[in-house]
Subunit: 217 residues, 2 copies
């Protein structure tokens, strides 16, 4: 009887140890797997320029937009406004003369990332004074981060997109600003067609040791 | 003796089941889980301003750098150069007067994202002509994407960082450019201290419906 209890307790201890060890490994492995998945989306992001034309589900659009506006923002100004265009009948006028029109027409949706170039706040040296509107010297950096967050999320969802520059090219900006009747402080920054990829697309390997410098130029 | 064998085999079976259950964790996660993990890194990214001071392993630095330079680049110019500073004895001179010095000093490494503001190529209208150097009108957008890729990778690796603006503020740019003896076409764009987070940090919820516009402003 004693021996029976002994072997039973050995069996239970073995199980308990294995399960507890499993639990910890599971956590560590999950952390590592999640890190790999996130970095993989960054590394796999590529410019996709041909799409099937299928509509993108609202839930996906919602995820993309939320990822975009989770970007960092200097002084927490959050200069972004995003116009989601799905109505193709508007493209000809809105994107008049844009050499990317063929990509826009195939996309499930076209996202116009716009920026408020001003900031309205009390002056830093007198926070109790009335708010004043001044130019924001770093709106463009926030918009770059916002567009890139969006593109990594596009890759994560296995959609395809390409960042087409709008600012500072007036031939691309002016038709958009005119068609959307954007307020004077709002500029169209980037135009990103998104769709289900048509064909195969591979990311570029951009690694170049000569661009990395340790402790000196 | 039979009983002894029976309990021993129960113990071994228990162990075997536990180990096999562990093995399943190694199986590749499905697409949905990978998508969630990637978008989670974007949504969880936050500005972390206090660090433990511990050194960051080389393999992590390598992953961060590779993520950074996987950014999209207009006309594929890839304007980025990244200076990795780990030698704290250089900080006082390199970052002279920078109000973020306290964060830099605690970090495991400080990354200075620099940009080549020019592009050297044959003219577009005559690809066979000799290369000419001209200003790159969109280097700043590439640098924003590069810095943001880096920050999302930092979050994925459960490190902490904060994007501190450098360009276009000459009081921050000039000491860096002078100390590193940067060539005239290279500007220090952003300075990002990275470390193991000290304390708790939460991402901001930046969602604001008023910034999203469907088919019109």
């Amino acid at each position: 009887m004693k021996k029976k209890l002994f072997y039973l307790s050995v069996a239970l201890m073995g199980l308990a140890m294995a399960v507890s060890c499993c639990g910890k490994q599971e956590e560590v492995k999950d952390d590592a797997a999640n890190a790999d998945a996130a970095i993989d989306a960054i590394m796999q992001r590529k410019s996709v320029r041909a799409y099937t034309g299928d509509t993108i589900p609202c839930e996906m659009i919602d995820k993309l937009l939320r990822a975009a506006v989770a970007a960092p923002s200097g002084m927490d100004v959050r200069p972004w406004h995003i116009v989601v265009m799905t109505d193709k009948s508007q493209y000809e006028e809105c994107f008049a003369g844009n050499f990317n029109m063929d990509k826009f027409m195939q996309a499930g949706a076209v996202f116009i990332f716009c920026a408020d170039t001003t900031v309205t706040r009390p002056p830093r040296e007198n926070p109790d004074a009335p708010a004043v509107t001044t130019p924001n010297p770093i709106w463009r950096d926030d918009m770059g981060a916002c567009t890139e967050n969006f593109l990594v999320a596009v890759e994560a969802l296995k959609l395809g997109a390409v960042w087409t520059a709008c600012y500072p090219f007036h031939d691309r900006m002016d038709p958009v600003a005119k068609y959307l009747q954007l307020p004077g402080n709002i500029v169209p920054y980037s135009i990103v067609p998104v769709g289900y990829p048509a064909g195969e697309n591979q990311p570029k390997d951009k690694w170049d040791e000569s661009r990395i410098h340790y402790n000196k130029w």
